[in-house]
Amino acid sequence: MANKEKAIFGPEFKEAEVGDIVFLAKDKPLMLDCGKEISNFPVAYQVHGKLNKDKSNAILVCHGLTGDQYIASEHPVTGKPGWWENIVGSGKILDTDEYFVICANVLGGCMGTYGPKSINPDTGKPIGLDFPVITIGDMVKSQKLLVEHFGIQKLVSVIGGSMGGMLALEWAVSFPDMVYSSVIIAAAARHTAQNIAFHEIGRQTIMADNNWCEGKYLEKKKYPSKGLAVARMTAHVTYLSESGLQRKFDRGLQDRDDITYGFDADFQIESYLRYQGFSFVQRFDPNSYLYITRAMDYFDLVEAHEGMLANAFRDNKTKFCVMSFSSDWLFPTSEARHIVHALSASAAKVSFVEVETDKGHDAFLLDEPEFTSTLDGFMKGVYEDWERENA
């Protein structure tokens, strides 16, 4: 385990297999929200299906906080199947026989796209905390460059869950003419105080680990594994629901018949969380975690539109589908309704469903039949309308 961790994200830093990479903003730098400019930066992505002649069959999928571009193929680090393999593929809801599905590692990420783990060519060292603080808007602007790189003028759909839902929302607001439909799953138009609170706990946990070394752990050949693992454990609880945890674990004991009167992982839930933390460390960069959580915290489409979210959607022609999960307390239905009410106030085309489930926030990554069949129905409607309008 330790070797693999080191080989990929540990002190003996080595770039993992990240698939296709393109360097963007070569001619004209990309201006970030913080005021800094970046140019000629790499974006790593995966595509499935074939882009047609008219370049009119592209769908962009946006991943969540700790997701990446490996949406429908084996993950090179973990060896696990793609995170949305039940949705993306031949004959599936995002049918790669018909559509060209793109998923790119976000700006600030650690799977090949420009981020704090990238090497500064001037110093030969990882950029670390010299990486500019990025926003959801910056991530979308970099994705737009990727879409333009493919020569695509309009995406059939931009789809995402959690942070991916924020990206999908930002896409539809910033570049409505490029987005025919937008699917926003388990997301919000702004991060709430509770959302920020949990992210702050995660960041403080990483930074409190002595091996974080003020963000220079790669240079110092150290690694804040414990801090990152605890950050993940805390976050992971927010992705589940109380009833889901209870159903899955209850007070079950881990490989023992009785409690041990010690601090070992007596309970299954403890063992489960430890495993989640342990495996996360092997595939994610601690500084990336700081930057991406910060980007989510800064996301506020309400503030960006004079306190009226409806202003964000004025004259928007995009077809929206908003979905929430009844047991999601991280991005609860009330946040989804906030988006829906604003869309209604602009008389935008919007569908909204709250899916009844006890699987919590992570339900969009799981096989939740009511969710997948609703997504399927919405996409079929979109495909039909899109084809009719482009005939």
Binding site: A347, S351, F352, E354, V355, G377
Partner: protein, 203 residues
């Protein structure tokens, strides 16, 4: 769903909606009417439905429907953003039918509203003779479980419209079969002979 499968009373409601208009249906259920109007009359339709199963069915049919409550969610729509606000057998099931009616008229230029007529002779006879609340194929619920918490007669509804200053520009009175009243005597007394009524309201 094929057009001739549309419930007869919905067909009559559909006739009152203009082609290519912008329509909001309140309480659209499984979306039968909205689907029909979208495909047969090329409307730009939206719907509000309270049940998850109804909304899911609608979304699966490609309709723009949100899960919401007519009593709560209409206020989020801007004024007159629709040509028609429509509802079938819904307004009597809302908590505040008067408010819902006013909201429907605020968000649209006109409304098409279908209601069950409690003044229908069968209901009067049922209550008069049995002394029990009417239960029929249309009013199929017992009093303790009915979602229809605000029953009115066609006349009551007309009176509310008059009170609120809305013009009823068209009324269609339907028999239990879903066909319009034909008998000339029945047509003179629709409040007694119509099982359902459909009204087109304008400001």
């Amino acid at each position: 769903m094929h057009k001739n499968q549309l419930r007869p009373d919905l067909k009559h409601l559909a006739k009152l909606v203009k082609k290519e208009s912008r329509v909001l249906e309140i309480g659209c259920g499984d979306g039968d009417l909205l689907y029909y109007l979208t495909h047969e009359k090329n409307i730009d339709g939206r719907g509000i439905e309270i049940s998850q199963s109804g909304v899911s069915t609608c979304v699966k049919r490609g309709l723009s429907v949100i899960q919401g409550d007519a009593d709560v969610d209409l206020k989020f729509y801007p004024q007159e953003c629709f040509d028609f606000a429509i509802s079938s057998q819904v307004i009597q099931a809302t908590r505040n039918p008067k408010d819902v009616l006013q909201e429907m008229m605020r968000v649209s230029k006109s409304a098409v509203i279908a209601i069950p007529n409690f003044g229908y002779w069968f209901n009067r006879v049922y209550l008069g003779l049995n002394g029990r609340m009417p239960v029929s194929s249309t009013l199929s619920y017992q009093w303790y479980e009915t979602p229809n918490i605000h029953f009115s007669t066609a006349k009551d509804f007309e009176a509310l419209c008059a009170q609120l200053g809305y013009k009823i520009t068209k009324s269609v009175y339907l028999q239990a079969s879903g066909k319009p009243l034909k008998n000339p005597i029945a047509r003179l007394m629709p409040n007694l002979f119509a099982e359902k009524a459909i009204f087109v309201l304008e400001k």
